[in-house]
């Protein structure tokens, strides 16, 4: 299991990547701060403050982009600059790819935890149960890492894979109606209710926050099903492309 020991070094590499850090930590903090100040204490339709709603959605939405780190590292190490060096090592590349994924997920979770703490400390945002929020964040970051890896493996051109991952992130946010309300279409509604991971994660947290633990479990289970499907796809595509 020496491959798993590389997680530490991948973590060190990630912690030195300041641009990613700015994008995944600095930007959300600024956005959340601005939104929180603008929205103030306005009450929403359902009784929870709009601020709580928006901030939770934002933090979860940024989790959608967390997979980009995993994707970049897998591409660099297994397909581009360091490919031949890694292949010459007495190491199982599949396991190494897996450990990159784990490191990416952990990194993304850590960023999520920082954001949750920041929002609760500074703006007093109600996240419901902290442990539950952590679980949902974990599910979200795993899903996004796996989905991004599926993109990496299924498309030959890495640039296109990157664009696809952006489409995944921005598209889910768009469909969730964060930028502007979506038209009231049965298909879109169904997608938001059962497939859109952002809405699933948000509903899960929202349900637990307002006491509906069983519904929360239901949404989390739906998310897990998505993860399982994505993982199956990952195995299928990865077997073909893995060096």
């Amino acid at each position: 299991m020496k491959e798993l020991a590389t997680i530490r070094f991948i973590g060190i590499r990630m912690s030195r990547d300041f641009i990613t850090m700015i994008l995944l930590l600095g930007v959300p903090i600024i956005l959340i701060t601005v939104f929180s100040i603008i929205l103030g204490e306005v009450e929403g339709l359902s009784g929870t403050p709009i601020r709580d709603e928006t901030v939770v959605l934002l933090v979860l939405g940024f989790q959608l982009f967390g997979g980009a780190i995993t994707m970049n590292y897998v591409h660099q190490d297994l397909f581009a600059e360091r490919k031949n060096r890694l292949l010459s090592l007495p190491m199982n590349t599949t396991l190494y790819g897996f450990s990159i994924m784990l490191a990416g997920i952990i990194y993304s979770i850590l960023l999520g935890i920082i954001l949750i703490t920041y929002t609760t400390m500074v703006f007093d945002v109600n996240w419901g149960n902290f442990i539950w929020a952590l679980l949902v964040i974990t599910l979200m970051s795993s899903l996004s890492s796996i989905v991004c890896l599926v993109f990496t493996f299924s498309v030959k051109n890495f640039k296109i894979a990157e664009r696809l991952s952006e489409v995944y992130g921005v598209g889910m946010i768009l469909l969730a109606g964060l930028f502007f309300p979506m038209p009231d279409n049965a298909l879109i509604n169904m997608f938001n209710d059962y497939v859109n991971p952002l809405m699933l994660a948000y509903s899960s947290i929202d349900q637990v926050r307002s006491g509906g633990l069983s519904d929360g479990w239901l949404y989390a289970a739906l998310l897990s099903v998505l993860i399982l499907i994505a993982f199956g796809l990952l195995l299928l595509t990865g077997r073909r492309r893995m060096p």
């Binding site: 700015i22 930007v27 956005l31 601005v34 603008i38 103030g40 296109i160 930028f179 309300p181 038209p183």
Partner: protein, 229 residues
């Protein structure tokens, strides 16, 4: 005009670029009108300013690429002045973005959107386009790599849109933010859109465009700096 023609070719050679450049304005035409009275224009037209910013940073990134690959160094040795290089590139970007503006305005007119004063809207978009290009030019001059410049500028665009009153009406924000909003060029864009819908004093519209042009000049002066390394 060699540089101009070459810049156009470089931009259009990239297939994703072409897709990105045509698909988004066309998609923007079909976005619905908001029901609750804000934004005033159809959503696609309200957010078109954001799209212009995105497009301009994407287009100007070929100038960073030139710097990264050392083309600028070779140009410095070639019998081409930096000024020539700059204006021909900028002209190429402008031509592409003008086409986009024409697409969205004529498309919206054909689709039957209520655009109030299409000609003035075109002028407003054109002026904002110049501002957007010079802002991204100035932004790019701060960076060494294309990727980091683009990624961080995305966040800046969202912030500008947010604070400038494109995503939210400025009146909804706290008073301090309402005043700070004036600093952002996006504020003047949303003011211009408001003028087009309510259209009162002609002088106001000129003033708004004047401010945007001054912004364009300001950022152009910063961005036109020649960085070889």
């Amino acid at each position: 005009m060699t540089i101009f023609r070459f810049a156009l070719k470089r931009i259009l050679r990239d297939k994703t670029n072409v897709l990105f450049l045509t698909l988004f304005p066309i998609a923007a035409i079909f976005l619905p009108t908001a029901e609750d009275g804000w934004p005033l224009l159809p959503l696609g037209y309200q957010y078109f300013g954001i799209l212009l910013l995105f497009v301009s940073i994407r287009l100007t990134s070929i100038m960073i690429e030139d710097r990264q690959k050392g083309v600028v160094k070779r140009l410095a040795a070639a019998p081409v002045s930096h000024f020539n290089y700059l204006w021909q590139n900028l002209l190429a970007f402008s031509v592409i973005m003008i086409i986009q503006i024409i697409i969205i305005i004529s498309g919206g007119y054909a689709y039957g959107h209520e655009l109030y004063e299409p000609w003035n809207l075109t002028i407003l978009y054109l002026v904002f386009m110049f501002t957007a290009i010079s802002i991204s030019l100035a932004w790019n001059s701060l960076y060494r790599s294309k990727e980091s410049s683009f990624l961080i500028f995305m966040a800046v665009i969202v912030l500008m849109a947010l604070l400038g009153g494109i995503l939210f009406p400025v009146e909804m924000m706290p008073v301090v933010f309402e005043r700070i909003a004036v600093i952002f060029p996006t504020y003047w864009l949303s003011e211009g859109i408001e003028w087009i819908v309510f259209g009162e004093d002609r002088g106001d519209f000129l003033f708004i465009n004047g401010v945007l042009l001054l912004y364009a000049l300001f950022f152009l002066i910063i961005g036109s700096i020649r960085r070889i390394s």
